[in-house]
Amino acid sequence: MPVRIVNLKVNGVDQAFMAKPETTLLLALREQLGLTGAKRGCAQGACGSCTVLLDGAPVVSCLVPAATVDGSAVATVEGLADGQELSDVQQAFIDGFATQCGFCTPGMIMSAEALLARNPDPTADEVNEAISGNVCRCTGYAPIVSAILDAARRRRDRAGQEATR
């Protein structure tokens, strides 16, 4: 069975691993690089638990053959915090009681990060659309949407403070 060496920049760090044909980006992250934040909830692209940023764009990593993204940059939930300093989205999820079982949380947070990177001031409905590929079975979504809107506010406030500094 042909095996390739695949190079990725993962959370800013150069990584190389061996990929079999069936090795998806998700399995490579989880099983070869030890980054288990992205979850396998369906392997069908329909639950969003495996969402990571591929060259800045959120993708369902379960549907990406690892060999096809050689040389790309990948961001996962593990790379969001700066040491002990959580990202605004992570902190807003904590403060807003926006997690229950936590299985969807990493994917949900990556979708939220991607939204806020593109749109710093989203409406609630834009948040709804942005997380429509992320299934949560516990919370009923409302606290998640609130947390993402709250994170956007925090980020804008901080940007405002830095601008006036």
């Binding site: 909830g41 369906c42 069908q44 329909a46 639950c47 009681f97 997690t99 229950q100 079982c101 936590g102 299985f103 409905d125 948040v127 709804n128 659309e129 997380i131 429509s132 299934v135 079975r137 516990c138 919370t139 009923g140 979504y141 409302a142 606290p143 998640i144 949407v145």
Partner: protein, 336 residues
């Protein structure tokens, strides 16, 4: 196109725990050298927050701050028996077991402290910040880390406790069904407001107004998570979910993934207003009742009743799909 609006009501109760073969859970608790308290369980946290709420129960009972509590759970080699996480039993059963274990440990803790302070244990109290102190003379106090050190290195004592909760098995009388099936009952009432599209049969749940009586909200934020997430599941059951969309006529077209298995997305969530009432149960931990399961139940009939209120279609089969609404509307129009 006409959008029709309706309101529906439902009220329910729900049993805590079960009567199946007895309903036990056990807990062990012990202090570490520096006065951390490890709660050993085999109970499972499904995301409802059991690990947090039992730590609260232990902290309250011990009179210690939350930071002192460590929960070690779900290893069958180290944790004592727990029946499992189901039947709205986790908080009630495990909470009770933890309280019992914590009481026993607290007694030892106070005795060790009493020996160190050379006072009577009965005159001691905890202040919730980590100190055990003499009632009326707060200056005479000792920190839990010193108590634990003394227990381990001077007094040769284990600050520990065992807790068990058992709801004994109740055998239903075959002829009449006489039985004792629960420990207590929680309650809920839902008012649902819906919108019905009279051309497509699509039902939109606009608002849910809920009151829940849950005995005691041990953690109001997590209780809110439970009731509002559960109500969402009720909406989902009511208007979307089925593993056999053509039940019972055919088993074909069963959904195989999250695309086909329909649930409301965040674009379909109703506005929820929730109020919590507390009538502490006599046998619950600090009066708490089980609420995990009840929360999905009242929204379903409330939505069915609201659909009738909106458009005159009585739906008696779950889920209430656009097709079932539209067939009902067509029948009304044909009959008119």
């Amino acid at each position: 196109m006409t959008l029709l609006y309706g309101r529906g009501f439902a009220s329910v109760n729900y049993p805590t725990g079960m009567n199946l073969g007895g309903d036990p859970s056990q807990a062990l608790i012990h202090a570490t050298t520096m006065g951390g308290f490890v709660i050993s369980l085999s109970s499972v946290d499904l995301g409802q927050g059991l690990k947090t709420v039992v730590a609260q129960c232990a902290a309250e009972t011990l009179g210690m701050p939350m930071e002192q509590i460590i929960v070690d759970t779900a290893d069958t080699d180290t944790g004592p028996h727990c029946m499992g996480t189901f039947a709205s039993r986790g908080t009630h059963r495990v909470g009770n077991a933890v309280i019992m274990a914590a009481r026993e440990a607290r007694e030892v803790m106070l005795q060790v402290a009493a020996d160190e302070l050379e006072v009577d244990a009965g005159d001691l109290e905890t202040d919730g910040s980590g100190y055990v102190r003499l009632k009326g003379s707060p200056a005479k106090q000792i920190h839990i880390s010193d108590i634990a050190l003394a227990a381990h290195f001077k007094q040769g004592k284990s600050i520990s406790g065992r807790g068990m909760f058992l709801k004994e098995r109740s055998y239903p009388v075959p002829e009449t069904g006489e039985m004792d099936p629960d420990s207590c009952q929680a309650h809920a009432c839902t008012v649902a407001d819906v919108e019905v599209d009279d051309e497509t049969g699509v039902v939109t749940v606009l608002r849910l107004h809920n009151t829940y009586e849950i005995g005691r909200a041990l953690n109001p934020a997590m209780a809110t998570q439970q009731v509002e997430g559960g109500a969402w599941m009720g909406v989902s059951h009511a208007i979307f979910e089925s593993t056999e969309p053509y039940y019972p006529a055919s088993r074909a077209h069963g959904p195989v993934d999250f695309s086909e298995y329909l649930m409301p997305g965040s674009g379909e969530i109703p506005e929820q207003t929730s109020v919590i009432l507390e009538r502490p149960s006599s046998n619950g931990p600090f009066g708490a009742k089980g609420i995990g399961e009840m929360t999905a139940n009242a929204p379903i009939p409330a939505i069915a009743n609201a659909i009738f209120d909106a458009c005159g279609v009585r739906l008696t089969t779950m889920p209430f799909t656009p097709e079932s609404v539209l067939r009902g509307l067509d029948a009304l129009r044909d009959g008119a």
